[in-house]
């Protein structure tokens, strides 16, 4: 164990030194084909070294002490990551001690990268050592360790090639340009056309506001009544509320008349009856969310308070797209959150829209991610998942020989 602690300390020391001299480690320096070449060299080296697996240094390098030391080291580095706010883009003008030694962006620091690298080497050495004495009964070990190795390998090297873009597509238009993570406009090998962007909304909530301050009541923790098809009675403070009529897409026809119209500016309207529990006073009338042309309508309870509608929350937002990735067939895609579109190494996500315009948004914001190593990552995830199920099933099985335990 002492050897391992010394080794790990040396790695960290070298990492710190490199950090001070070279600044941060920009993984994008090793983008394709460099990362593929490096990966290949790593694998070949691991196999070559494994020929010396009986050597005592190999046994230490692939042993439990070093594994524990490396895991603890990475754990401690992550604790720093968890406690010190991390920045995504480096502020070149920040000169505090945390920035200088890379603590504000640990994943791009040399000591993190070196620890990660040696973890991958040590893990690889362990796996190869066990593969030589292959035993089907060690299935849990193989799934867990190989799964983790594949995941770390693909995620680590893949980070060099992964790129994220934000694209603004306007209704009725076609777009090929997008902003990368450095906010530069780049042309992507695809063409995306938006025919329609739509938001489905949940019914709004009712809330009591103070007529003068317009603050929702009670001020510290406002009380809401969610309009719901299945439930048309409720309470707001000391008023009993009854929804007599609800129109989700309504237009104010004139005065107190609301009709249902499927129009871009149509918004929720509800006819409510409010009964004061203490005084039995009744107030009846329409509450309307309003739109760009028509003002909102509130139910005035008394001089101090009125009932209004809150902004309806999005239930679902959808882009109706035609996506043409160069080299592939054009595809008609309905894109929504949690349902991205994948074409080869590209994945396209529904990201956002013009928040201020809401349903009237004329453009949709897409997130486009390029990751050629994704399949490797998924393979690692699957193997690890199977390994985890093995753990659930077998727990900690004792090995037949001696008292040494063996776990997957």
């Amino acid at each position: 164990m002492k050897k391992s602690i010394v080794f790990v300390s040396v790695i960290i020391a070298i990492g710190f030194a490199l950090q001070l001299v070279l600044g941060e480690f920009d993984i994008r320096f090793i983008n394709a084909p460099l990362n593929v070449i490096m990966g290949g060299i790593m694998i070949l080296s691991l196999v070559a070294f494994s020929l010396f697996r009986k050597n005592k240094y190999y046994r230490w390098f692939s042993g439990v002490s070093l594994a524990v030391s490396l895991i603890i080291t990475i754990g401690i580095l992550c604790i720093f990551m968890g406690l010190i706010p991390q920045v995504q883009t480096r502020n070149l003008h920040q000169h505090d001690i945390y920035s200088l030694i890379g603590l504000r962006s640990i994943t791009t620091s040399w000591y993190f990268v070196l620890t990660y690298f040696f973890l991958l080497l040590s893990l690889g050495a362990t796996i190869l050592k066990r593969l030589y004495i292959f035993n089907l009964k060690d299935y849990a070990f193989y799934f867990n360790h190989i799964g983790l190795w594949v995941l770390l390998f693909a995620a680590g090297l893949g980070a060099a090639d992964r790129e994220r873009y934000t694209m603004y597509v306007h209704e009725g238009k076609e777009e090929s340009n997008a902003y990368n993570s450095d906010n530069e406009l780049k042309k992507l090998p695809m063409s995306i056309a938006l025919s329609d962007f739509d938001i489905e909304e949940y019914p709004p909530r009712l809330v009591i506001i103070n007529n003068n301050s317009l603050m929702m009541q009670p001020e510290k923790k406002p009380s809401f009544f969610q309009i719901d098809k299945t439930n048309n009675e409720g309470r707001l403070l000391h008023w009993k509320i009854e929804i007599q009529e609800y129109i989700h897409r309504a237009i104010n026809k004139e005065g107190d008349e609301y009709i249902e119209v499927e129009m871009p500016g149509a918004n929720p309207a509800a006819k409510i009856k409010a009964t004061n529990i203490n005084t039995s006073e009744i107030r009846e009338g329409w509450v309307f969310y309003g739109n760009m042309m028509q003002s909102f309508a509130a139910l005035r309870l008394n001089d101090d308070y009125s009932i209004v509608m809150t902004r309806p929350e999005p239930k679902r937002y959808v882009s109706d797209l035609n996506i043409f990735v160069y080299g592939k067939e054009e595809e008609h895609v309905i894109l929504e959150v949690n349902k991205p579109f994948r074409s080869g190494n590209w994945m396209i996500y529904q990201y956002g829209y013009d928040n201020k315009a809401g349903r009237l948004s004329t453009y949709s914001i897409l997130e486009i991610v390029y990751d050629p190593w994704l399949n490797g990552v998924y393979l690692g995830i699957w193997l690890l998942a199977i390994g985890s199920v093995c753990l659930l099933w077998s727990g900690n099985k004792k090995k037949r020989r001696g008292t040494k335990n063996d776990m997957g």
């Binding site: 439990v64 968890g82 991610v369 985890s388 199920v389 753990l391 727990g395 335990n405």
Partner: protein
């Protein structure tokens, strides 16, 4: 089927689960325990299916609806894990938590309609949270055991049976922990564009895994017995930071996981 019929299913199911959780400690015929647990689970399954058909959409949109699934998953997986590992407290505990979620649905009906934002409307949501609940329960039990064992170690006599229990329960708890993290990664890729972004919650979840991994590997050796045992309470503190602490850490305020 609508929520109006919920009580007809919820009360019998809870009675089944609580009874099973109590009589498992007496010398009861396992067939009765199996029967009670399965009846409760079936009742919930039927109600969920009915609600699905009645509302003409999968019941995955409101917080009340997700609680139905928590109760179902916890009771089911808790029952299966009990059958495999024979830990009676596991059956009682998961049954109890399933009942807690059911009771919240009974006593706070007005938050049935608190709607889920689009990012949470995913089939990953319930499994991801459920396996974490199970994992935390088991790792909590392991922590208690480790404290007992440390006390025994101070008195000079450790309990080998307790070691066996700890090793098993940490393995199973860790298995669920890993599954939770992997599901989180798969879901993140579908929803946010990347499977891992070192978001504070993700970072602390990773540290939690690393801590338990250290325990599991140290148990392969016979040295540093005290340090090994201490890893469990330390790991549990890290687990608590992941679960609840992140919401309060200043470094995490911008996190997508802070509700």
């Amino acid at each position: 089927m609508t929520w109006d019929e919920f009580l007809w299913f919820a009360i019998p199911a809870m009675v089944c689960w609580i009874t099973a959780g109590i009589i498992v400690y007496k010398r009861t015929n396992p067939v009765i325990i199996n029967g009670l647990m399965i009846s409760g689970i079936l009742l919930f399954a039927i109600f969920i299916a009915g609600l699905w058909i009645g509302q003409q959409r999968p019941p995955l949109r409101t917080i009340g609806e997700t609680r139905l699934w928590y109760s179902l998953f916890l009771a089911t997986i808790g029952f299966l894990t009990y059958k495999h590992w024979k830990y009676k407290w596991l059956l009682s505990f998961t049954g109890l938590i399933a009942c807690v979620f059911t009771c919240v649905n009974i006593f706070k009906p007005e938050i049935h309609s608190t709607t889920l934002m689009p990012a949470l409307q995913s089939i990953w949501f319930v499994p991801h949270v459920t396996v974490y609940i199970l994992s935390y329960a088991m790792l909590g039990a392991a922590t208690i055991a480790s404290i007992v064992q440390l006390k025994k170690m101070n008195r000079g006599k450790v309990d080998p049976e307790l070691y066996r229990f700890m090793d098993n329960i940490v393995c199973v708890g860790f298995g669920f922990l890993m599954l939770g993290m992997l599901m989180g990664a798969a879901w993140a890729k579908e929803a946010w564009g990347n499977y891992w972004s070192w978001d504070p919650k993700e970072t602390w979840a990773f540290i939690t895994c690393a801590a338990y991994l250290v325990y599991l590997h140290l148990r392969l050796q016979n040295s540093y017995k005290k340090f090994t045992l201490w890893m469990l309470p330390i790991a549990f503190i890290i687990l608590m930071i992941t679960w609840i602490g992140v919401n309060y850490l200043p470094s995490a305020q911008g996190s997508i996981h802070v509700y």
